[in-house]
Symmetry: C2
């Protein structure tokens, strides 16, 4: 069986995990869950007999962090985006670097997946469909009426554990999310996609012809230097940024979803990061020096100073350099509103 | 009318305001409420026509901090305790330095008093009684069933606003404290006392003769150097430590209480310190850089790093050097149990 080509997308700054994640050292490159960075964990779960060498797509700002991570890897390539243009153009660059028959698995570099056997089983099912010309997305079986994710509705079954996509739905309101959850036929859009490189570029050419042509041409005129591939800045930088959902997935005909329960989290805010920790009997977890007395559901993270906490419930404490964040778990989505997170 | 002699006691390390208050820089010498330290505020409210120059009693460890505070004061004396022996021996040293007919007002150096006119009115009433041979204590009209203070029960009235003390009561349990509060005849023991120096030493000689003699002898054999008076180490260091309540007040015959409501707080823990702040409309207060979103009753104190807090209620956040404390207000009395507070 042909190997699957991991394509790892490293984009976005992300202020929702401020003050840990900052523009200069963003989320994928922090040890947020366990001993490895989210980026390293993403690579780790895409290694083994089933997988080809990884192809990473990232901006110039992250090249040093990525090269440092990859020092001991035997084979890899980093496609350096000439400009940040969202996921569709980034995936197009990767697709144009691969053989048209290569099956790609496109993964964000900043998600957490707890159940690797389930992840690999879903990848195997999705790769089979991708090999017969489908654009496949992994759909996360929802565990609550989340309003922060896009949803995917299932249509007709496509054999075991896969379905034709009925429709993609934007982030819903709570009542809609509750209806989706009850129906049992909706999944969260994970941002993990599998397709053949050639099929993706064909579909992109159909729905976004200028984007497809610009990506192909920038790759054709680009240059490889050691592990770094630099696509030509022109015409790539002229493309309008667009997500792969908008540009391709919502328009294409043969789009499938493989629903999966794999302990997935996009670690979208401090509450999600707390929930991804291995907690003690009181639901507490910590990174760095911390003493917690009479606390429940507390997550304490320090890069140096000791944190001492007493009598708190569902509170997240983060000490990072000259910033100290203390937020209730349920208010964690407001972190982006802080002056510090806005760089003020 | 003769002037009243302020005697300021600077004792104790105090771990209940850790990490701000530490052995090397204890509570009286921090700017905890407003722009002056508690020590400076204590001196300030004992200045004016009614008061003589202050007499401070403190250990060797605090001499530098006190001298720095007193730099601009024209007249003062610091009695340096040869050893820490609690309040009765400390007051005895001060009394032995004064004229026997001098009325002393003994004040801890780490309390907060919001209502100065009420304080001065109470001092005036108490000084009058002290001048006729009474040992007088200011009693705080209780504002709740506090279990952290000793209580004083009133006996017969001694003219306007003063009563003979019926009895002193140790820190009560909650049910007892509630009964005391309801009765309307109990006050909190403030630790503020007024008496003539000679009367105090007589009563001490009656109830603790060895202590009285040792204090007198160490003062007689001591030496003054600029503003610092050093009592002889022997025999003072041989005294057993004891509080003035145990040694004298609970045994003497002519003991009076002057009840007062003066916005008093012993700033006994972080909750009390929060309550003493001038808060905004949401009950929040801060010292140092802080941004508070959706918070109520939050007190944020930083000596440098910025504190950003979201969605918290009745929480105290303290950043001090390499220590970060986050405690619910109602658990603030447990701060002393923390490893950091115990110097570990």
């Amino acid at each position: 069986m042909n190997k699957i080509h991991p394509v790892i997308l490293c984009g976005g700054g992300g202020t929702r995990l401020w003050p840990k994640s900052r523009a200069s050292h963003p989320k994928p490159f922090h040890r947020l869950v366990g001993d490895a960075t989210l980026f390293e964990q993403t690579l780790d779960r895409l290694q083994g007999e089933r997988f080809a060498a990884p192809l990473i797509v990232a901006g110039e700002a992250h090249v040093d962090l990525i090269c440092a991570s990859m020092r001991e890897s035997p084979s890899w390539e980093l496609v350096v985006e000439p400009a940040a243009r969202n996921t569709a153009p980034a995936i197009a660059l990767a697709a144009a670097r691969l053989d048209p028959k290569a099956v790609m698995v496109v993964c964000p570099s900043d998600h957490h997946i707890a159940d690797l056997p389930e992840f690999h089983a879903a990848i195997a099912r999705a790769a089979e469909l991708a090999g017969s010309g489908w654009l496949v997305t992994l759909g996360i079986n929802p565990t609550g009426p989340e309003t922060g994710f896009g949803y995917i509705e299932r249509g007709a079954a496509l054999g075991e554990g896969a379905f034709k996509v009925q429709r993609f739905v934007e982030k819903p309101d709570l009542a809609t999310a509750e209806r989706f959850l009850e129906s049992g036929t909706f999944s969260w859009n994970s941002g993990i996609f599998l397709f053949e490189a050639g099929v993706f570029l064909e579909q992109l050419a159909l729905h976004r012809p200028a984007m497809a042509q610009a990506a192909r041409r920038s790759v054709a005129e680009g240059g490889l230097e050691a592990n770094l591939f630099h696509p030509a800045a022109f015409p790539f930088a002229e493309i309008e940024g667009e997500s792969v959902d908008y540009a391709v997935m919502e328009h294409a005909e043969r789009v499938a979803v493989v629903p999966v329960s794999m302990g997935w989290s996009d670690i979208g805010n401090w509450q999600a990061l707390r929930d991804a920790q291995v907690a003690d009997a009181n639901g507490n977890a910590s990174q760095g020096q911390a003493e917690l007395i009479d606390c429940e559901g507390v997550f304490a993270v320090s890069d140096g100073p000791r944190i001492s906490a007493i009598g708190l419930e569902d509170v997240i404490i983060v000490v990072d350099g000259d910033e100290v964040l203390v937020t209730s778990a349920k208010h964690a989505q407001k972190v982006g509103q802080l002056k510090g997170a806005k760089g003020q």
